[in-house]
Each structure stands twice: as structure tokens, then as C-alpha cells.
Amino acid sequence: MQTTLQPIEDEVLVPLQPDEETEDGRVRNREAIAKIRDIWIYSKVRARQEEFTQYRKALVFTGTWNVNAKGKEEPLDEWLCADWATQGLPDLVAVGFQEIVDLNAVNVAVDNKTQQRSQVWTERLNATLNQHANQPERRYVLVAQKSMVGLLICVFVRFPHYPKVQYVQTSQVGVGVMGMMGNKGGVSVRLQFYDSSLCFVCSHLAAHRENVTGRNADFANVFSKTVFDVGEAAIREVIRSGSLSHFASQSTTVGLADHDHTFWLGDLNYRIDESMPTEQILKLSETCQSSRHVPPELRQLDQLNMERSAGRVFAGFQEGVLHFAPTYKYQPGTDMYEQRPEKKLRAPAWCDRILWMSQQAEHVQQLTYSRSERPNCSDHKPVYSSLQLTVKDVIQEKREAIYAELNALLSRYENPQTLPVIELDQVALDFGPIRYQERKTLSIRITNIGSVVAIFRFVPKTDEVGICKRWLSVKPAFGMLVPGDPPLTVNFTITIDSYTAQLLNSGREVLDDIVILRLEDGRDYYITIKASFARSCFGMAADELVMYSDPIRSIPIDPLERAKKIDPTNTSTALCIPKELWRCIDAIYQKGLAEPHLFVESGIPEETAAIRECLDTGTAFGRYSIHSYADTLVSFLSSLSSPVVPTKLFPTVEIDSQTIQSSARRLIEDLPPIHYNIFVYVISFFRHVLAFRDRNLLTAAKVARVCVNSLAPGRDLDNTAASLQKRTGMQLIVLHLLETSSI
């Protein structure tokens, strides 16, 4: 149910050179030492950034328009120059287009028409921006453009600032059919403007009203996969402006989150939630358009607003309040929403949006956020926003002076004759019991009690790569302390995800680790990490769960201990489905089948944790929201160590009206016994859920997706056409089973 962003890479020091043994017998890594030292200086320099930075204002115009493969003649100035009279000439102009070519199969697969179209559009932007360029300071210069199938982004700078634009890079991410093809995705331009790094992303996310999770996933995909290899010189600027992880990892690539300011524009395709009838949305949208007032209830039902406030998408981004009418879907060439009788009646939506994310929120001020009525040849109206940025302008001489000062300070504490000495406040961390999905952090404090600089880093054990086991993370993984520095805190965090839970439940892993802290030129310290896993029904095999009528928490993991309690050969006590599954379903069945947005809305994290605990310990449920039960049910099923429908049972033939019956039958027949029980039970339950569709607002398609995600996740399927066909086939079979009464 939840789409989470991939975590930003931990700061781990990866020296290219292995540790070496010096002639004096010590183990040392010169490269690591030099880096840690530089990182220390960088962070100190950065902390004093106010002393060497001037700030200047910059006006940025951003625009987005889905042109629907049209609009090659209509003038663009009503849109592009909308703010010129009130705000003055922008310093930077970033414009994104979607659907500059038809998204037909040929164009999606073969990208040649795109080149020609993006040339045309870039030229038209250029002409519009430069129509009054009688003086050099009114002239706009193209900085970069990037296109991919229907997507195009262009960035222009006003001529006087042209020398202050550096390190320009572009990137593209396709998330459409088969992953890399570009019918959906994002194109981006990044650059350094004065001493601030800016990035502009133009994206087109998954369509269709009900496909909110698809859009969220597309966003997460584009967000995490947009990377720029900026090279050595630019990376130094990135590091200077604060991203020390690059320094540590040797990487010369930057992601979106590494920029001072990121602007995200495009046809994000979020619609208005279907809990409001289409006719009503249409009516309200028309009122918006004529009165220029947006009723709050409409804005609140905007899917992007809903998803953002639930924290499921665009985390860290800002957006202005929607004070303009929905921009889609118009009858091309008119100012009327599309409602011609021969066309499908669609609820209007704010598909076209502009958001931004900044390292310093106070450095961006949105001046306008609106739509333009012209050009109107597309079924979307163009959207624009002017923003005032505060950009950094570094006085090099001052920065160098501060660097020299810190360097001098440091060299006073560097003496190869003297061994560094540190003190750790503790070396054994006992996390105590830890539950599934729980995250616990303990820390140690390191103090430099010697007379020279102490550089430390965590090192891998012999023949290992990582510094600790995968359920543990250590932060920071390296550091440097000058004598007199306050103690430095290192955090150790344990997280039990479902993979770890599977290993722990099967006894293939224990929560025990030793982490080695190496004091360069000093000694090694061992930090022992210990925790006890509070056993959970999450991340177990269904076949094993049915053997226990006692709560899982009371079942020992050790097979010998377990054998004393349970006789595995005695199958008479075996249940037909895991009791935990029955409890979740029963809770929803008793009081929640009619709950609006059932299986669409997420549960409350504290409640889902409490429900898991009830399942694991066999205690009665408290009073929790239905959504929390639904969330728990889905995550329980998808955590099973082997999925209810193994990938090998996915359909191998294309599913159509001819093959669906037999494929569905074969699938069910081939399921292993316990899995068969679970499958039939869950599908029957969801049929009941669908009987309440008027009130819980579910559709068979949505339920089918929930079922496939939890019963047949197909984790080992890749993005090839064959896999895609299998997934689609599985979806169709489940849909079929939900809609027919026989199983």
C-alpha cells in the first residue's frame, strides 16, 4: 500500500586502495585518512558559509504543458511571458512539455520523430523569449534541452547571467512499458547558477484515475533514477555546497536531492478522488473557471494533495495552493471541459503541476502559480509559476582564507610521533527485544582524550565487504576529532525488514554482530551488538504457521527447542489457514466491509504495529481503524517467505477470453495445499468486499491489484516483455476470479 522512496545512500567511506601495512607495522589507509581530513575541513568551512557568501535574488520562470501532439502554430507569449509585466524579466526560464509526439507504439519505441519535434519547440521558445531582445540584457540563451519520446525540457538564461551558468548536465529516466522506454518518465537539466545548484525535472507520470500507486511509483522511480555524472570539477562544487557523501563515496554522480533547489514540473496525472461524482467535479471545475475561485473541498480531494499529505509521494517538496481551475481535460481549441457525447465523460483534474524542493526553504518564494488560457489547442491548459530564488555567490578569497585558517589549526594537532587516544563511553550495545518492522537506535560517544588529531573509521572484517550486517547501520561510519572537540555520537540502528525477519524466523541469522572501529595509527575497538528478535508471524512460511495453534511468539526458533513443544508429525492439530490471516480478515469482515477507501488508504503506523503485536502474542485486538487491519492483512500476506502464488505458477500463455478459464483453473489446481486454502479464502473474502463497492468505493480492478500485490508479488520477475505479460496475465486471472462466482 505504501510507496517509499529509496533511502538516500548512507555515508560510507569507500577507499579505492585497500588498507596497507606500513613499515612501522601499523595498518593504515592513507587515502581514507586524507579524505576524512578533508571532509572535516569541508564541513567546518561550510559551517562558516555566511562569512564568505553573498546572496543574490534570481527570478525563475517555470512552465509545463501537455501539448497533446498539437500546437505548433499558436503563439506562446500569453503563457511564457505571463509574468513579465508584473514581475519583470526572469533570469532563468525552464519549460517542460509532454506529448510532443503521439505516444503511439512506434514513437515510443523509436525516438527519431522526437528529435525533430523538440527542435521545433525549442526554436519556438527561443523566438518567443527573444521577441523583444533589442538589448543584450533582454536576450535569452538556451542552456540545455533534453527530450525523450513525448517529453522535452528546455532551460534558458538571460544573457547577463550566462557566464554564471556552469556544469550543465541532462538526464532521462523512462518508466514506461518495459522500464526503459519513454512513454512515461522524466527528463532533467541540472546546472550551477552562481554558486547554487539547480535542477529542473519535467515528467509525465502514469495515467488513469485509479492508478494513484502507479503515479507514486513513477515519481519514486524518476526521483531515484535521475542521476547526473557531473565530473570532477563539478563534484567539488557539490561537495563545497554540502554533500559530503559524494566525497566519501568517490562518486561523481549526483541525484536530485543533492541540489540546492529542485523544480519538478509536468503532467503528473493526479486526478480528483472518485468519492466525488464526476458530474459534480465537472460542475465545480466550471465554476472555478468562471469565478476564479477554487472551492476547498475540491482541492482537498485532489489525489496529489491527498497523497502528499499522507507522505506517500513528493516527500520534501513544496507546492503552491491551487487557485486555478483544473487544467484537464478540455475540448481542444475551446475553453470548455470535454463533455461531447461521443467522448468518454471525464472528471476534470489538476494534472499539470509545478513543485519544488530546497535545501533552505527560505531561499524560495513563489510569486505566481497559475494557468494560462492560451494556447488552447491541446486538451491540457499550460501551467506556470514564477519563483524568486536566493542564490549563493561565493567570495573565493574569503573562502580560501577560512580554509587556510582551518588547515593551520589542524596541522598544530598533527604529529606523527604521537599516538592518538580516544575514549568510548561503551563498547557493548544490547538492544533488547526487537520486533518486526521495528527500528531501534543506540549510540556510543567518542571523545578524543589525546594530544593529536584522532581519525577513525569502521572497517570490514577479514574477507567481508560491509562494515556490519545488513540489518544494522552505523552512522557516521568515519570521522575525525581534534583534541578539545566535544564528544562525537555514532548511531547504531537496527531495522527488521521482512527479508531479515525471514532469515531470523528460519534460524539462518541471529541478531549478533561485532563492528570494528579503527583508530588510524592507534588501535582497533570492537563494538558488540546484540538484540533478541521477538518472533513474528510476519516473514514466515505459511506451511509452518499452520502447524502452530499457539501464538508464534511462544514458539522457539531453535528447531530442537521447538521439537520439544510441537510434534511436526502430528498433523491433526494443523490449521487449514494461518490463524493470523483469519484474525485480520475477521476483524475487517465484522465491522469494516463498507468502510470508504478500504484497502486504498494506509493504516496508522502505531496501530499496525499494535495489531502485529496482538497477532504475534495471541492477545485480543484493541480498538483500531479498519484501514490499519487492512494494511496489516496486505503486509502479512506479502511478507510470507514464499508467496501464496509462486512465480512459477504465473500464466505462461497470453490471457484472453479464450484462455482465461483454463488458466485460472490450472493456477488453482497447481497451488500447494495450504497456499490453495489461503488463496481461495482471500479471494472469497475480497468478493465480499466487492459486494459493498457502493460504500467502500472499491472497484474490481483495484481489488485485483491488492490481491496480486499480496498473493502473487512475483518478486523475482524482471522488466522484460515476458515478465510483463505474466504479471498482466496474473492480474486478469485474479480479476476474473473476483468477478465470477466459481473458484
Partner: protein
């Protein structure tokens, strides 16, 4: 000549550097032996080593100076798997047992075995029966250990970190046994901080 040896080293005689590692079960007195050898101190309640400590000490032989770079390791069983990090590349190893504790002697044998199997093939191994001052509580006979040492080509001494008996001798015997030829190439030990090139700005 190496610049990092310190002012005490006589400039005339050649200094040979050897990495030496101390291995053995927990509480047999590894750290006490090192502290006695390096700083001539003894603490009745030496805390268990959790990690690996690095110390250096020089031994003057008739014809040469030998500087030991000593890695004192943790003896607790749970850290055993980390020992290879330290004995890899060591020229010498002292395997310590406690003469009042027969289990520690069995442990010493297994450490020797591990060194013979996984350590440097030319590693000089010394077997040290520590806590020799506790004669009244002796459980490991000198002859038994000596026979085992002879069989395996190990140096063998009984030591007392507490009263300092045989501690220096142990290191001197090892120093004598270590090959002094060919002379080690004279190379600069690199400085703790690499040379800072004339930097421009803070990058």
C-alpha cells in the same frame, strides 16, 4: 634511515622492524606481558582487551636493534574470528597460556595449529606459559609444554608478567630467531598526513 623511530634509537646500528602478534585464550595475561615489556608496568586488574592494541618496543641485540610492532589481541572466544586481521603478515607470534589453567593450554595448542595453517609460513612462534609466579596452583607441567613446543618447533618459556620474570628474555629470544638478512629496503615511512600539495581554495 627511518624518521619515525624516535630520538632514542642509536643512529649507527641497523634497526629491523618486525610485526608481532599476541594470541591466546582470555585472561592468560597477553596484555600484561606487553605492558610489562613495553612500559615495565603491571596491573593486577588489567581490563580485558576488547579490540586490538598497537604498541612498539625495541630490543637491543649484540649485532642489531629489533623493533617490535606489537598487536595485542582480544582473547575472548567471541572475537576469535577476527584474529586473522592481525596475524596475517606477522613475522612473529607469541601464543600465551596460563600455567594454572589447563584449558588455556589446550587453547594455546589450537592457536598454534591455526597459525601453522593460516599464518605466514615462516612465522616464528613462541609458546609462553604465563603466571609462572603462581607455582602453587600450577596445572600445566613445564615438561609437557616443553615437549609440545619441541615437537612443533616453537620457542618455549615460562613467564611472569607480575614479577617480570623471563618477559624481556621472551622477546629477546624471538628477536634472535628472526632473520636479519637481507636488510630491509630503506624506504621512507610515510607521514601520518600525506603531503598537502599547495592547495587552491578548499578543494
Amino acid at each position: 634511515m627511518n624518521s619515525n623511530i624516535g630520538p632514542s634509537s642509536p643512529a649507527a646500528s641497523r634497526v629491523h622492524h618486525f610485526k608481532l602478534v599476541l594470541l591466546g585464550d582470555t585472561a592468560v595475561g597477553k596484555s600484561c606481558l606487553v605492558v610489562r615489556f613495553v612500559r615495565d608496568e603491571f596491573f593486577e586488574f588489567q581490563e580485558p582487551t576488547i579490540g586490538a592494541a598497537f604498541l612498539t618496543q625495541t630490543v637491543q641485540l649484540d649485532d642489531a636493534m629489533v623493533k617490535f610492532e606489537i598487536w595485542d589481541t582480544a582473547g575472548q572466544e567471541r572475537y576469535r574470528s577476527l584474529a586473522p586481521m592481525y596475524y596475517r603478515g606477522a613475522s612473529a607470534a607469541i601464543v600465551v597460556y596460563d600455567i594454572t589453567n589447563p584449558d588455556s593450554f589446550a587453547g594455546a595448542k589450537s592457536w598454534v595449529k591455526e597459525l601453522q595453517r593460516r599464518g605466514d609460513p615462516n612465522v616464528v612462534i613462541a609458546l609462553a606459559g604465563n603466571k609462572a609466579d603462581l607455582e602453587g596452583r600450577r596445572k600445566v607441567e613445564f615438561e609437557e609444554a616443553a615437549a609440545y613446543a619441541a615437537e612443533n618447533g616453537l620457542l618455549h618459556l615460562e613467564t611472569s608478567a607480575k614479577n617480570s620474570n623471563n618477559v624481556k628474555a621472551l622477546f629477546v629470544e624471538i628477536a634472535k630467531k628472526l632473520p636479519k638478512n637481507p636488510p630491509q629496503p630503506e624506504r621512507e615511512a610515510f607521514p601520518i598526513m600525506p603531503q598537502q600539495p599547495e592547495k587552491q581554495g578548499c578543494c
